[in-house]
Amino acid sequence: MSDDILLDLDDSLIREGMAANADEIQIPATTGWNPDTIETDYRNRGSFDEIYTELFPRIYNHVTFEISRLGMKADLAGEVLQIASRKAHDNWDSYTQGTYALAWFKKIVTNTCFNLRRQEWTRDNRLVSTNDLALLLDNAGFRTPSAEKMAIERIREEELRAMFDLLPDPFRAATKAVVLDGMRTDEAAELLSIPAATVLTRVHRGRARLRSMITEQREKEREI
């Protein structure tokens, strides 16, 4: 198991409740990945206001994504964003200029969501295992990113929208229902009048087609 995975599983990286502090959040050193050399489509140097403003749509989206994944109430997005933004702002000195700023913000958002969720879990007497932590920390961009992941991170929003529109109708409709509208498989099946298994197949193929288009786009850019 690589060092970064071990770090992902380290319970000590998650702080209790509101004591969670970006000061203690570090991007761990990983073999073969130097955060200074990560190419991004945004600036990784500047004041808090400059970088925060540029990244805000993606930070906001990460908040809604984590809230949805953790089964939290959607109306908590504003509170999570406020708390996470405060932590980031107050600990801006701990961000190393030139490193992967989006991952730094995402880590704070994920910790904030998890801490709020854990308070609910604790109230509900539900078990929170180390495995839950692995999932939550996994998504914050701290694992050595693959070339495909970096290509997905780099693609511009208008390009991604265009690719989504290029999906064949059946794939696009199923992907929209499940991924964008957050429907359960049975709900999407009823909406689209197809079996649930077909919904899953079409969503999978929709994602696969997008991945293929992104990879092809990246290859074309390299040729140029």
């Binding site: 989206n61 495995n131 999932l135 998504n139 495909e148 997905i152 989504f164 992104i214």
Partner: protein, 80 residues
Amino acid sequence: MDTNRDCGCASAFGRIEALVDGHLRTTETVDVIDHCASCESCAQELDIVSTLTERVKTACFNAPPAGMCDEILNSLKSNP
């Protein structure tokens, strides 16, 4: 006995999209996450599917409310 709880690569890999879409039951979720914690290729697949899903949502759906960024920045400055 739950015969669906095989969690080798084939099983986990096939459930990663369902996990990201929030469609797995708790036991299945734990199985897949357990597997990903010790399997680099499945963990990488989880990372890619999560990232793609998030980017698609951002691009196609999930713009923050207008003015929200400025409101938060102002509140950070006015309530140190």
